[in-house]
Symmetry: D2
Subunit: 197 residues, 4 copies
């Protein structure tokens, strides 16, 4: 039997509402610069795909705090984390990050929620100096609103869209697959500015 890889985690958790794909999760993990031992806050928990990926990659010395306003979502994500033996690295919290993130001195914050701009100030308050905020949204209107809410509090703010194109592997006929995923979402990145302190 093969040992589980991140792709297996992805396949195991996939759901109709899934928008984060491996390409996005990989880049988000890279952007937040989360190395073993980091403490990361995330909202919302969603399917738990990023939550569990973070627990997997950051190792046992790390701490992932994941907020969601929905109890059922969290219970399902927790069950997945338990099954994979990663639940002890994750704290599941029922709560609204638009009001407050209780933790402080956090290395990185990640938002995947409909109105992240309403939680940008909470992220700023909870981040350690030069900590990273990464936001994932599916529409350009959300990119603009998020950017407007970040530009005074964060530096090095930029936005990108990652596209993955799969190839058909066949002798003498290697070419891109005809049909594929053209859109998942946009990623916005910024680092807490030290100017205001």
């Amino acid at each position: 039997m093969l040992k589980p890889t991140p792709f297996d985690i992805y396949r195991g958790l996939k759901r109709p509402t899934q928008v984060l794909y491996p390409k996005d999760v990989a880049y988000i993990l890279y952007m937040i610069g989360a190395k073993p031992g980091s403490t990361v806050v995330e909202a919302g928990t969603g399917s738990g795909f990023l939550t569990i990926s973070m627990a997997y990659f950051l190792g046992e010395s790390s701490k992932i705090i994941t907020y969601d306003v929905r109890d059922d979502t969290q219970r399902s994500a927790k069950k997945n984390a338990d099954f994979l033996g990663l639940a002890d690295r994750i704290i599941f919290k029922l709560g609204d990050v638009r009001e407050k993130i209780e933790e402080t001195d956090i290395d990185a914050v990640f938002f995947d929620m409909p109105d992240p701009w309403n939680a940008v100030k909470s992220a700023y308050d909870s981040l350690s100096p030069s900590g990273s905020l990464v936001v994932f949204v599916p529409t350009i209107i959300q990119v603009e609103k998020t950017f407007m809410s970040m530009r005074d509090l964060f530096v090095d703010v930029h936005a990108e869209e990652l596209m993955s194109r799969e190839y058909q592997l066949k002798e003498n006929a290697v070419r891109p697959k005809s049909i594929g995923v053209w859109h998942t979402g946009y990623i916005i990145y910024g680092r807490k500015s030290l100017k205001g302190d």
Copy 2:
């Protein structure tokens, strides 16, 4: 002063010959499933961008063995690793992986070299059961040759191309930047098959 992030590593190391971009490094790290404590073999060292990124993300309990046939390249990469305090996690080796990879029971192997198909057997021999091989090449002809050399020894073989599109962030005028990077390379992935053993 801001703490260094992976993006800073990238900017610091960038060179004219650089082909691996953050989007690729992020996805490669994800694909190989390398968590803290993993042992990874890489060839060639190149600018050392992936080498150093692996050392950063995999933590102090990890071991990165990086091969190159050129001495000057390795010395320059080693200097960068020293500067960032990550050199003790990396073993720099002058050698040709097409002939042999000396280590065995390796978690993952990564190739960024002109003719990876000539080193696929070496990777197979050095990988632990179900270990991952990830290959990065700039042309489709190389994708085909790599695939042909992997298909009998590896399972779950697939190939992808990642594209990153940057956005201009400006009030009322958020849109993709006009000019950008359209191509870096293709990523091929496979896991060591257990059938033959």
Copy 3:
């Protein structure tokens, strides 16, 4: 000497403000379904690239009416059309299509202007039954506003973005060029609805 082609027209007219590229002009010509003998209204004239392309492809029996609010722009476009011997198929008009398009029973209308939504009613009034309106805009916010203004007056409304990726042609090393144009604009299409009449 080689005879001029549409690509030569493109190269001859190129300017810093150019946003329409051959890929866009080609698709716009296709979308409006303009065959020899058609009558087409356009605003604004801009560099005249589409104006002249339409005159070239639609032939001498066609009529292109091009509006612009700026006199200098039109004079420069007219000079280009004269030089190419196509000026007799084009009527240059100084005027604001947001107020009125004087012509009626038009086969197709094309807009490349900052606020096309303010001219959608003019287009509707000037189009013949089932005539096509095609709009080109550089941002998603403009796509949304244009769509909102069209959805009650037009049917079959859809929007697309065309991307062209150029390849390096070299023996054993065919691959996409590293750097290229990632964005010009979005194309919105609709046909005049007959419901309201």
Copy 4:
């Protein structure tokens, strides 16, 4: 009732084997620079989508000669052309362009066939001075072989890939559609060189 547009032609002819999409047909028409009255040679006929599009756009003074080695394909395409009232502009020929194109002094030649490199010399011989050859192929290996066969006989040879990304039009939620067509084929263009004559 709405008058038929090129999109209607496309929808009417669509088949499982269809690879040419409107974006490709539009750009091919533009590239060959075919204006009213042109004479164009095409092989193979396939579904007849390009054949009929050319007849539509080039008008009644044009002449389209379309070759195919299969009789059944041509009969089906001819039926479509008849139905649309465009058959008198098209000459259907059963024959192999790899052996010979009978016509000379042709304005443009288009190939959509498995081995266009074997017909490049025929195209050269039948084209008028500075005439255009446009080729459509689905794989990069075919791009390379076509390029190698064209580079001594044609000038201004280049290759491109067009991608169309469709958008979801919805108030406050305009964004690219999640799933779409990522690949149809590559377009290679060149003009007959006058050097050899």
